[in-house]
């Protein structure tokens, strides 16, 4: 029998997944991050990237930037579920506004000698990555950009002796003079 496995799944099959970046302004108090993360794991939503830091110390406000995937209906659910949490001030779908800038910072450690070292430096220059640590056999590069650029850079470093990567996750802000 071709029955759907559960009533909940039927709706999801038709709509393709979308990736959205959400900016969530929260009261900076104990447990607030656990609440947000718990919501995602508890309800089976995806987290692709999560960035959190206090942004206005005086007002005890923190900004959480979450990159998530889901059907449009699920994305709407995620926003509503976040918005109804008591310490959440505001949820802005940065992807939906179509007027946002997204950046990520990565530190990339590459180990190698000879031609590989030269090539790594040359590519770093092309990607505007900075050298922030160096030994005779390694570099640590700092690179800023959108997720695609960083992925591309890391892919290029792989054959040149990529050792490890540390990434901050995505931060996003709207273009123009208005605040969130």
């Amino acid at each position: 029998m071709n029955q759907p496995a559960s009533a909940y799944f039927i709706e999801e099959r038709h709509d393709p997944n979308e990736t959205h970046t959400l900016a969530v302004l929260v009261q900076n108090e104990p447990g607030v991050l656990a609440r947000v993360i718990g919501l995602f794991s508890g309800r089976g939503y995806n987290i692709e990237s999560l960035t959190v830091s206090e942004t206005e110390a005086q007002k005890h406000l923190s900004r959480i930037t979450i990159v998530t995937t889901g059907t449009p209906m699920v994305i709407a659910q995620i926003k509503n579920q976040l918005d109804r949490m008591i310490p959440v001030y505001q949820v802005v779908d940065m992807t939906q506004t179509r007027r946002s800038i997204e950046r990520e910072l990565a530190m990339v450690k590459v180990r190698g000698q000879g031609e590989h070292r030269v090539e790594a430096l040359r590519l770093a220059d092309a990607f505007r990555a900075r050298v922030i640590d160096a030994t005779t056999e390694s570099f640590v590069f700092e690179i800023t950009g959108n997720t695609d650029k960083i992925n591309q850079y890391i892919d290029l470093m792989r054959p040149l002796g990529l050792v490890e990567v540390s990434r901050t996750g995505v931060a996003a802000i709207g273009r123009g003079p208005e605040g969130m």
Binding site: M1, G31, L39, Q81
Partner: protein
């Protein structure tokens, strides 16, 4: 110079808790003492404004508080100790979250310097209860306690109501600080539930309602939570429009079961007419309900031809399971008032005579039919007898979970809101007995009956002792078929009649059990003895266990097999082996 020791607002954390309860009008709380709440119990001992009901298990305190809240519209309060006290509250908290019941739980915690040390009776209470509360707090400073307590009451009772928990370490209970009465600034500025509906959406809704040819109103627990005004307005809307109305399990009583527009409950065990009306309607007005999977059945076949209006105070309920055309976010009482006002000013009652004729044909199928017997009590008959015997009295009904719960919803006619306490969302077996305790505390002179199943009632039976201690004359009306009836029904329908562990081999003697607790026991086997025994039960002013022996293999119909549409329901007269096998084919994986 003010002398701090004479400042009446200087007090210990434990005293603040009792003071806050009084300031929020709390007269009764349910709890169980333990090491980490002893300072609070000491304060309770030294006052008389708040009555404490000692339960026998913390889960009982939670459900009693839920019953209290559901039957009064006021928040229920539970007090438990750290560790196991708090973990035993997880079920009632989750239950209250699913059914939007305002509950304030205060839990003790080990002293702050021991938190994180795996101390005796320590657990991460706020961590454990985070996903099962609307919000929770750990108070580390006694000077934050008053603010948090006031906010807790506000959060529990405003917007979409729900359970909250305040975890108070023992040293904070002992410490002295400054108390202040409730004030507006106690609440997070980020929390501001919307009450008033959008005027444009309301006009759109009225236009749809006025143009409807085959309308239906589908109401839920939100109407009851909103308060008496919402119930009044819902009834007026039905009167003004002449529309048929059905309700979820949680919404029973908002529109009277004796009302002429009443279709009965909808959903998995709803009536044929309610489900067919939902399926074939052209305009659906959903008021304070959430398109739960027990209501919708198969979502892609749910009411395919209708425009849907959805009134809900929680934006996350909108478009969660079912896409709607006109969402209106806000308090349903407020919005119903606005809809009525616009409708009365600009629209007239649509002519839906042919729709009512169609509904009359569905009604004529008599989907709640069952065959009475002279030899054995049918559970449906037992509920009907109970209903007839208690009609006209102020009666409150609680239930456990299972077949008896569905039969109670089908056969007990509720005329008023707040009279029906059941675990709808979570489906908690063992809810009904402690809930009845809570209801009886709130309504000492009313008749409070827990319609129970023999399996469910044994999950929280210990609260009989609470009922006896506080002279709460609750009536536990057990439909005893010696099975976990609903489990068995699904095993029969979906698992080849292999009745795996759904039969109770060693049933206690409920009459002796009642007597052992200090209550009164009844046992009835014959249909002829039923009415007399029920009358006798009602006249007894003590807690009663009523062992009503019913037909052991009766099943609950009508039924929409899960994963099927509203127009694919199985009616009682069709439920022979072949039709049943066909209806349930392939549905095994569903819940």
């Amino acid at each position: 110079m003010s002398d701090k020791s004479h400042d009446p607002n200087q007090m210990t954390g434990a005293a603040m808790i009792v003071r806050a309860l009084i300031d929020h009008g709390v007269t009764d709380i349910f709890g169980y003492p333990g090491g980490a709440v002893l300072p609070i119990y000491d304060e309770i001992f030294q006052q008389s404004e708040v009555q404490h009901i000692l339960v026998r298990h913390e889960q009982g305190a939670g459900h009693a508080a839920e019953g209290y809240a559901r039957s009064t519209g006021k928040p229920g309060v539970a007090l438990v100790t750290s560790g196991p006290g708090a973990t035993n509250m997880v079920t009632p908290l989750t239950d209250a979250l699913m059914d939007s019941i305002p509950l304030v739980c205060i839990s003790g915690q080990v002293p702050t310097h021991l938190i994180g040390n795996d101390a005796f009776q320590e657990c991460d209470t706020v961590g454990i209860t985070r996903p099962c509360t609307k919000h929770n707090w750990l108070v580390r400073d006694v000077n934050d306690l008053a603010k948090v307590l006031h906010e807790a009451f506000y959060v529990a009772t405003s917007g979409r109501p729900g359970p909250v928990l305040v975890d108070v370490p023992k040293d904070v209970q002992f410490a002295t600080g400054t108390y202040h009465p409730p004030r507006k600034s106690d609440v997070h500025r980020s929390y501001a539930p919307r009450v008033k509906g959008d005027a444009t959406q309301i006009r759109k809704a009225v236009a749809l309602l006025a143009g409807a040819k085959r309308p239906v109103i589908y109401s839920g627990g939100g109407v009851i939570n909103s308060g008496p005004e919402a119930t009044r307005l819902l009834r007026e809307l039905v009167e003004v429009t002449g529309f048929p109305i059905t309700s979820t399990l949680m919404g029973l009583g908002a529109y009277p079961a004796s009302g002429k527009n009443w279709l009965g409950m909808l959903g998995m065990h709803g009536t044929y007419e309610a489900n067919m009306t939902m399926h074939d309607c052209d305009v659906m007005l959903c008021v304070g309900a959430r398109f739960d999977d027990r209501i919708t059945g198969r979502v892609d076949a749910f009411s395919p031809g209708s425009k849907k209006i959805h009134i809900d105070i929680d934006p996350s309920s909108i478009n969660k399971n079912i896409r709607v055309d006109v969402p209106i976010i806000g308090d349903c009482g407020n919005i119903l008032g606005d809809i009525l006002q616009v409708f009365k000013a600009e629209a007239k009652k649509p002519d839906i005579k042919t729709w009512w004729q169609q509904i009359a044909q569905w009604r004529a199928r008599n989907s709640l039919y069952y065959k009475k017997s002279n030899d054995v009590i049918l559970p449906q008959h037992a509920i009907q007898s109970l209903f007839e015997a208690t009609r006209g009295r102020e009666t409150y009904i609680t239930t456990e979970v299972g077949q008896h719960q569905m039969w109670a919803a089908q056969f007990y006619g509720f005329e008023e809101p707040h009279r029906w306490m059941t675990s709808g969302g979570l489906g908690t077996m063992g809810y009904g007995l402690p809930a009845a305790v809570g209801v009886q505390v709130a309504h000492p002179d009313s008749l409070v009956i827990d319609i129970a199943g023999d399996a469910s009632v044994q999950m929280t039976m210990q609260e009989m002792s609470t009922a006896v201690q506080y002279e709460l004359p609750i009536k536990i009306f057990i439909l005893n078929n010696q099975y976990m009836g609903m489990v068995r029904q699904w095993q029969q329908l979906l698992h080849g009649n292999r009745l795996s562990h759904s039969y109770s081999e060693a049933m206690p003697d409920f009459v002796k059990l009642a007597e052992a607790y200090g209550g009164v026991g009844f046992q009835v086997h014959k249909p002829g003895d039923l009415d007399g025994a029920i009358q006798e039960m009602i006249s007894v002013k003590r807690p009663v266990l009523f062992d009503c022996r019913v037909a052991s293999l009766e099943n609950c119909f009508p039924m929409i097999p899960s994963g099927k549409a509203h127009n694919e329901m199985l009616l009682p007269e069709q439920a022979n082996d072949e039709a049943t096998a066909k209806a349930f084919a392939g549905g095994k994986a569903l819940v």
